[in-house]
């Protein structure tokens, strides 16, 4: 009996500790994410999330954040080799997809990577990478019709597409308005689930006026 109690106690200790460790790590990572100022900071956050993800093995969220911060780092550093950075992002996304095959926000990451690669040589790449981006957005919408971020990303993208190619302010505006409508009733599934974009949608919408 005593032994059993002891084992139970040890398990409880171990479990609660592990749980809080993961949560603590996520909290720490998200805090670092909001404080990151330089591309190097952002890459460090990405590396941290990747370590958490590799250690946990069965959680997609740290891979999600590792990829997201890697993409952000690519944007923050204008001199970054975006194709190389995209390779890394894609590796991380692939690991996230393996754990969570039909996640709207992971599809959103795919679109962001495609857009990042497109900007390297927009004139020549828009056809191929534009199609990849559009497909990712379509999958993201199907996976979770209530997710406002696919609309935000598409609106952001269309704003930069010349009107002659079917983009422009009017097209973007519709998408961003839709995104904001969805944001008004959006609740992330947990404190660690993606919960970004509302402010960005408002800002981008303002640019459409």
């Amino acid at each position: 009996m005593k032994k059993l109690l002891l084992i139970v106690a040890m398990l409880v200790v171990g479990f609660t500790q592990a749980q809080s460790r993961y949560e603590g790590a996520m909290q720490k990572g998200l805090a670092q994410l909001s404080e990151a100022k330089t591309p190097a900071d952002m890459l460090a956050v990405s590396a941290f999330f990747e370590r958490v993800a590799d250690a946990e093995k069965d959680k997609w969220l740290p891979y999600y954040y590792a990829a997201r911060t890697n993409i952000l780092a690519g944007w923050m550093d204008p001199k970054a080799d975006k194709d190389k950075s995209a390779e890394k992002s894609k590796q991380l996304i692939a690991k996230a997809v393996a754990l969570e095959p039909n996640q709207s926000d992971i599809f959103c990451l795919e679109q962001q990577v495609a857009v990042q690669q497109l900007t390297v040589d927009a004139m020549n790449r828009w056809q191929t990478y534009g199609a990849v981006a559009a497909e990712a957005i379509a999958k993201a919408k199907t996976a979770d019709p209530a997710n406002p971020r696919p609309y935000l990303l598409e609106g952001q993208y269309q704003l930069n597409v010349p009107e002659a190619f079917g983009g422009g302010k009017a097209v973007a505006k519709k998408l961003l308005e839709k995104s904001l409508t969805l944001f008004s009733s959006y609740k992330p599934a947990s404190p660690f689930h993606p919960d970004w974009g509302k402010e960005l949608a408002e800002k981008t919408l303002a640019a459409c006026q």
């Binding site: 005593k2 109690l5 002891l6 106690a9 040890m10 200790v13 500790q17 460790r21 790590a25 890459l43 460090a44 590396a47 941290f48 990747e50 370590r51 958490v52 590799d54 250690a55 194709d83 190389k84 390779e87 890394k88 590796q91 390297v120 040589d121 927009a122 004139m123 020549n124 790449r125 056809q127 191929t128 534009g130 199609a131 559009a134 957005i137 379509a138 919408k141 598409e154 010349p162 009107e163 002659a164 190619f165 079917g166 097209v171 519709k174 998408l175 839709k178």
Partner: protein, 746 residues
């Protein structure tokens, strides 16, 4: 109580063991170079860090015991080291070996110009072909702005590094296209038949090409057709010189597509607006239809079917040099059919299969007449050189071919490729003049097998040996042609490539009607290339030596082959510079070729520089596009020093010793992409030879009429008009799936 104490102690212990151990060290590659941004992780924990700009890393961990410390960096093999964490600081210095990586590895094919969307390192993009001023969306004309390709204004074809047009082969998806250009008209270079928009990839080799290709002493141009288009659309093209209509239908699942187009070109209106020097009694009139079907098979395979049919008719009248007051009236009717079916499939386990089969047919009906001042056929003049200008020539060519190439990938990025091809060429001619009708036919069944391998010794050093064996049924002879390429990477953007090869070709069949006891023609290539290729800049310098060991010799009338004991050489230096970065939104390239070449072939009495070579030549191409306005302007300047021409007034020792004046052409084009109604449209305006510079491509001499000094009279071969103009409007109505998506979701 005791229990409770134990539990509390245990709880505390879980935290009391948090004494931190520091882990430090450095990450470098196996050559001792610093690797910044590499991640170092204590495997199975959250602890780790990244190497900084000096390659050092450090972090603290609360873990205890044996752990694996892992260092990883993209493009390098990951290294794991076992560490014991026992309170003492730990130091580990990592050395990572570069992983074999296609993106970083040296490029074996750096000796050729690649235009592609798919590959990362390319000199040109497919769009460049459509937006080069002066080229008017003609593939060959764009390639002529690259070093190595000579500009020959009076004749179509690719003239590469002192090679004649016959020495270049052009293929679509691996199948040779026998009549890539519209049929020859004396003195006027013709365009290529195919639109650049059919192709997503272009590999233009000016020498030293792979063993996968053959039957070209100088150069191959390999065009790869597009796969499934991005979207369904209806297209209409309008211009004073042509009208076209077509559609592409892409299946919803994007697994298949088909399309059809019709194009009618008629130059009568244009020739009324822009006077032409020759008298066109029948303005060029062309009808073209083409159709395609593309299908994605299981496992990412691709089946593509393309069919093309064209008829061309024209009649052109020039004053005869052999008799004052008479004219030569040349008329041409051409029918051309080309179809190919290609199939590629991954077979798993690193195997890939590429096959293609094609049928092509070409029929030229040529009629030449001597006419009087009233454009009536003259009766016999009893002067043979004049009367022989009454002739008809019917010319049929059939070509059937099949080809298969298998590729096996091994050890990361190495590849082994082998395959075989067969060509069945059947040509028949019927020549008739006052002496009678002279039919002739010639048939060649050609087979070839080839193998090559890409061996990456390291990421920086690659070797590609290849071997090709060919048999010509017509000659009833075999040949072997070894090839080799060695590439070494000097830095992240620069590399050196050395190419060597023996290149063989069956002599032009039209000289083999009466005798086929000849050998293959042979040229050896030695090429050294330095290339710097980053996203903004391209710089290339190439030095080459081409030894024509065997060229065809013919009788004086240039009718029958007499031997393959002709020979020659070509050597030179070429420079290419492209800059997309220095000036925002402006893209330009400069190319320069120095060429020293001489040959004794065909009916040449001595060794001389051929008519299709210029010692110095070059181009400047400038493109500027304003994305906001969707408006682009392009400029190009092509120039070359004078080319040799034949002057029969000179003795044989002076053969081809005259030079034309230098060539220069400045060209301008403008493209504007407005949205007209629901259509995406492109307006193209082009002017070639903006400054009206005098261009002389050579001289035609009379065979009997002499001037006051006893010299045969001549006329200069000049373009039909000093300037050419182009105006076109292209409209496309696309069923854009992304737009559908937006609308269905809102």
């Amino acid at each position: 109580m005791k229990q409770a104490i134990i539990i509390v102690v245990m709880f505390l212990c879980a935290y009391c063991l948090t004494a931190q151990v520091s882990v430090t060290g450095s990450v470098r590659d196996n050559k001792g170079r610093i690797l910044a941004g590499a991640s170092v992780t204590l495997k199975g924990t959250y602890d780790g860090g990244n190497s900084d700009s000096t390659g050092r890393f450090s972090f603290k961990t609360t873990e205890k015991g044996n752990y694996m410390l892992v260092a990883a960096n993209i493009g390098y093999n990951t290294v794991e080291v076992s560490v014991l964490l026992a309170g003492e600081p730990v130091q580990v210095n990592f050395s990572l070996k570069e992983a074999f990586n296609e993106l970083k590895a040296v490029v074996i094919t750096a000796g050729s110009f690649v235009a592609s969307d798919k590959k990362k390192a390319t000199v040109l993009k497919p769009l460049d072909i459509a937006t080069t001023a002066g080229a008017v969306a003609d593939i060959a004309a764009t390639l002529q702005t690259l070093p190595g390709a000579q500009r020959v204004g009076e004749q179509e074809g690719l003239f590469i590094r002192g090679g004649s047009a016959e020495e270049a082969k052009i293929m679509i998806d691996g199948a040779v296209v026998n009549n890539f250009f519209y049929s020859a008209v004396p003195g006027i270079a013709q365009r290529g038949r195919f639109s650049p928009f059919l192709f997503s990839g272009t590999v233009f080799s000016t020498g030293g090409y792979s063993a996968v290709y053959g039957q070209a002493l100088s150069s191959v141009l390999s065009l790869e057709s597009i796969d499934i288009p991005e979207r369904s659309e209806v297209q209409v093209g309008l211009s004073p010189i042509f009208g076209s209509a077509g559609f592409q239908e892409v299946a919803k699942n994007k697994k298949s597509s088909y399309g059809f187009s019709y194009n009618w070109v008629n130059l009568s209106l244009y020739q009324k607006l822009v006077p032409q020097a020759p008298d066109y009694f029948k303005a060029p009139d062309l009808h073209t239809v083409d159709a395609n079907f593309r299908f994605k098979t299981m496992g990412n395979g691709m089946l593509k079917l393309y069919a093309y049919f064209n008829t061309t008719g024209l009649g052109i009248r020039n004053p005869s040099l052999d008799s004052i007051g008479l004219k030569n009236a040349f008329s041409l009717n051409n029918k051309n059919f080309f179809t190919n079916i290609s199939f590629r499939q991954s077979l798993g386990n690193g195997w890939k299969l590429n096959t293609v089969a094609s049928i092509s047919y070409n029929k030229d009906q040529i009629q030449n007449e001597v006419q009087n001042a009233n454009n009536q056929t003259t009766p016999s003049t009893q002067i043979p050189v004049i009367d022989y200008n009454h002739y008809r020539l019917n010319n049929h060519q059939w070509m059937l071919q099949a080809r298969a190439v298998a590729e096996k990938r091994f050890g990361a990025i190495n590849a082994f490729r082998f395959g075989a091809e067969v060509w069945n060429n059947a040509d028949s001619f019927r020549y008739s003049n006052q002496d009678g009708i002279f039919p002739a036919a010639v048939h060649d069944f050609y087979t070839a097998g080839f193998a090559e391998t890409d061996l990456y010794i390291t990421n920086d050093l690659a070797f590609r040996p290849g071997l090709r064996a060919e048999h010509s049924g017509l000659l009833n002879k075999w040949n072997l042609a070894p090839r080799a390429a060695l590439s070494y990477k000097l830095g992240p953007y620069s590399q050196l490539t050395a190419d060597y090869g023996i290149f063989r070709q069956t002599p032009d069949r039209r000289f083999l009607m009466n005798n086929t006891d000849f050998d293959f023609l042979t040229a050896d290539h030695y090429i050294l290339t330095y290339q710097h290729l980053s996203s903004g800049y391209t710089f290339r310098i190439q030095a080459f030596y081409k030894d024509y060991r065997s060229l065809l010799k013919t009788d004086d009338a240039l009718r029958n082959a007499t031997g393959t004991n002709g020979n020659g050489y070509a050597q030179g230096l070429e420079l290419f510079w492209r800059d997309k970065k220095t000036f925002r939104g402006l893209d330009y390239w400069i190319s320069y070729s120095y060429l020293d070449t001489k040959r004794n072939y065909n009916n040449y009495p001595i060794t001389a520089m051929p008519t299709f070579a210029a010692t110095h030549s070059g181009s400047v191409v400038i493109k500027k596009f304003w994305v906001k306005q969707m408006f682009g302007m392009n400029w190009s300047w092509n120039w070359s020093t004078g080319r040799p021409y034949y002057n029969p007034n000179l003795p044989a020792t002076g053969f081809l010793s005259n030079r034309t004046i230098a060539y220069s052409s400045n060209n301008f084009s403008l493209n504007w992409l407005p949205k007209i109604g629901k259509a995406n449209s492109v307006v193209v305006v082009g002017i070639n030879n903006v400054f009206n510079e005098l261009q002389i491509f050579g001289y035609n001499y009379s065979s009997r009429v002499k001037d006051g000094n006893g010299q045969l009279i001549s006329t200069a071969v000049v373009p039909p008009a000093p300037r050419t103009f182009f105006l076109g409007l292209f409209l496309s109505w696309g069923v854009d799936r992304t737009q559908q998506q937006i609308n269905s979701n809102l």
